[in-house]
């Protein structure tokens, strides 16, 4: 067997999985891989071992633009008092799916 190696600088990828019962892909975690193809394989091996998934997306973590915690209030507080934006005042017909 080879000598122990110093951990390489493989970039980080975020993994999104669509389960059998889900309509959309959900973030499940992250992993290291040399390129997107390898990331997809690693995602299969790390996150679908218990028969969870039917579809995988991977995206380089550096490609994600995230909102900053410092901007939390300007970003999210203004919607805090606008309960009327929730469509809770309607009856949903029985034959409307995915609601």
């Amino acid at each position: 067997m080879g000598e122990p190696q110093v951990r390489s600088g493989w970039p980080l990828y975020e993994v999104f999985l669509r389960g059998k019962r889900g309509l959309n892909h959900v973030h499940v975690g992250s992993l290291h891989a040399a390129d997107p193809e390898m990331a997809l394989h690693h995602a299969r091996d790390l996150y679908t071992r218990r028969n969870e998934g039917v579809s995988i997306w991977v995206v380089a973590s550096t490609d994600i633009t995230a909102s900053s915690p410092d901007e939390k209030d300007p970003f999210f507080a203004p919607s805090g008092d606008k309960v009327y934006r929730h469509p809770t005042f309607y009856e949903i017909p029985d034959d409307v799916p995915h609601m």
Binding site: G19, K20, L23, H42
Partner: protein, 294 residues
């Protein structure tokens, strides 16, 4: 895809699913509904031996792969390899159980795995050899899984329905193993000068054991329609290896096959020195605590 899988609320409301599992559900038993009696006209002893051959290949190679755990270059690769080893262990269990049943002497999968001696194991010598480095691991895995995939592909049409069902399950697993290994062989072969040299040296080291994979055996000859004739697999395997080696910028090694001992190889129970050590480790717990259950 069924409607239940697609519609989130309908899926949640289904009671047919197994609720013991927190995450994935819908697990399947590959042998569900299959008649496990030995078909008429099939020699049960030959069938048992044939299942031992295929089961031992998987059991022994799975153990070799498990020995890599904690030695892989990345955590992610470790999980990948553990998954592969586990797939092969699953194949071994089904095949050894089938062998025990065909034999009819009351030996189960554990008895066959842990209480046979070295010369009773029927695996090919390619499966038992220690990998010198990571390149050898990927090269051997590529050759093993390309060969086994071709073999299982033929066995999906076997006259033994159990063997056909085991093969149908295995084909999906082995396709992934082959893809995983091929990707690494290309990555290393087409990588740096050092990785190329290591990959080439690995293939040189493995190549003498390739010929044995395609040897026809007297037992296999007794099972027409049930077993796959190894000689007929060579074309498919050569084609796959040719494609991968070309993409990796590697030449096919030109090495003489490893000699048989008095005409006998792994299939007849003649193994290399390293196999004894592997078997001692594999069987040590079961032999130290005979009859133990866990």
């Amino acid at each position: 895809m069924t409607k239940d899988e697609f519609t989130v609320y309908e899926g949640l409301g289904t009671d047919a699913e197994d609720h013991r599992w927190a995450f994935g559900t819908g697990f399947t038993d590959p042998l569900e509904g299959i008649d496990t009696s030995v078909p008429d006209g099939v020699d049960p002893d030959a069938l048992a031996t044939y299942c031992l051959m295929l089961g031992d290949d998987a059991l022994v190679y799975s153990h070799r792969l498990q020995q890599w755990i904690t030695r892989m270059p990345e955590l992610e690769e470790e999980t990948a390899l553990a998954n592969i080893a586990l797939d092969l262990l699953g194949q071994a269990r089904l095949l050894l159980a089938r062998a025990g049943r065909a034999e009819g002497a009351g030996r189960g999968e554990d008895q066959l795995a842990f209480f046979r001696d070295e010369n009773e194991f029927r695996n090919v010598r390619l499966a038992e050899t220690v990998d010198a480095d990571f390149a050898e691991l990927t090269g051997r895995l590529l050759i093993f899984s390309a060969w086994r995939l071709a073999l299982f592909g033929q066995l999906t049409g076997s006259a033994d329905p159990v063997l056909a069902a085991i093969a149908a399950k295995g084909v999906k697993e082995l396709s992934y193993h082959r893809e995983y290994a091929a990707e690494w062989v290309v990555r290393l072969g087409d990588g740096t000068a050092l990785s190329h040299a290591k990959m080439r040296a690995a293939l040189e080291a493995i190549w003498p054991m390739v010929d044995e994979l395609f040897r026809t055996d007297a037992v296999i000859a007794m099972l027409p329609g049930v077993a796959a004739d190894p000689a007929t697999l060579r074309g498919e395997v050569d084609e796959v290896l040719g494609t991968v080696l070309a993409a990796a910028g590697l030449d096919r090694p030109d090495r003489a096959p490893m000699a048989a001992v008095a005409g006998q190889t792994g299939r007849e129970g003649v193994h290399t020195e390293a196999f004894g050590y592997l078997l001692a480790e594999l069987q040590s717990v079961a032999r130290a605590h005979p009859g133990a259950t866990w």
